[in-house]
């Protein structure tokens, strides 16, 4: 069964304290892995797409990496405005495109 698991469920950091979020997946016919940021009361906002193992993408304080079974979202020197829920999703093709989301990691960054 296709599945996406994110850990930890919640993460509390001090401003400037770097850390990583994990996304592990089992899916057949993987077409891509996506990271989204979601603020309270808002829809998910696209951050990165990764297509193959070894690929890396960076944006400001965020860096996403991909292996054959998991992805990491590294946050370097976070600021309070980085506080949000970070969602991981995989896209599979089984007769059509289907996107499966994890439950997300809630990140709190304290000044």
């Amino acid at each position: 069964e296709d599945q996406v698991t994110q850990s930890p469920e919640a993460l509390r950091l001090q401003e400037g304290e770097s850390s990583s979020l994990n996304c592990s997946y089992t899916v057949s016919g993987l077409r891509g892995l996506f990271w989204y940021r979601q603020d309270p009361g808002k829809g998910p906002e696209f951050l990165f797409t990764l297509y193959s193992a070894g690929e890396e993408k960076e944006k400001e304080r965020l860096k996403a990496t991909l292996t054959k079974k998991e992805s990491f979202l590294h946050i370097t020197a976070p600021k309070p405005e980085d506080s949000a829920t970070y969602l991981c999703a995989v896209q599979a093709f089984t007769g059509g495109f289907k996107t499966i989301f994890g439950a997300g990691t809630r990140l709190f960054v304290k000044a």
């Binding site: 077409r31 891509g32 829809g43 998910p44 696209f46 059509g96 289907k98 996107t99 499966i100 989301f101």
Partner: protein, 112 residues
């Protein structure tokens, strides 16, 4: 350039009623997907529409149905509402075969 827009933003219904939610995709996008997001959970895929046809469906009962119009906008209909249908309903659009999906801010549906 307008992104994905959804209406209404909030809705309150009672059990057994029917509801219709609406979505206009981002300009240039032709594929619309609908998701249900319960509190504290990730979005769950309901179905996807392309060329006015349902192309993929998640594990949702037939009470959930949809439609896509020639201008690519879409509706989600839910019949015989249950308390468990209370959630944030998200619409996402993309160009077929081209990712990523872009999301609207959702419709918050509360069932009393």
């Amino acid at each position: 350039d307008a992104g994905v827009t959804q209406s209404p933003t909030h809705l309150i219904k009672t059990r057994g009623q029917q509801v219709t939610l609406r979505c206009s995709p981002k300009s240039g996008h032709d594929t619309v997907s609908w998701y249900q997001q319960a509190l504290g959970q990730g979005p769950q895929f309901i179905f996807q529409y392309y060329e006015e046809e349902e192309r993929q469906r998640g594990n949702f009962p037939d009470r959930f149905s949809g439609h896509q119009f020639p201008n690519y906008s879409s509706e989600l209909n839910v019949n015989a509402l249950l308390l468990g249908d209370s959630a944030l309903y998200l619409c996402a659009s993309s160009k077929q075969g081209d990712q990523p999906q872009h999301f609207g801010d959702g419709t918050r549906l509360s069932i009393l």
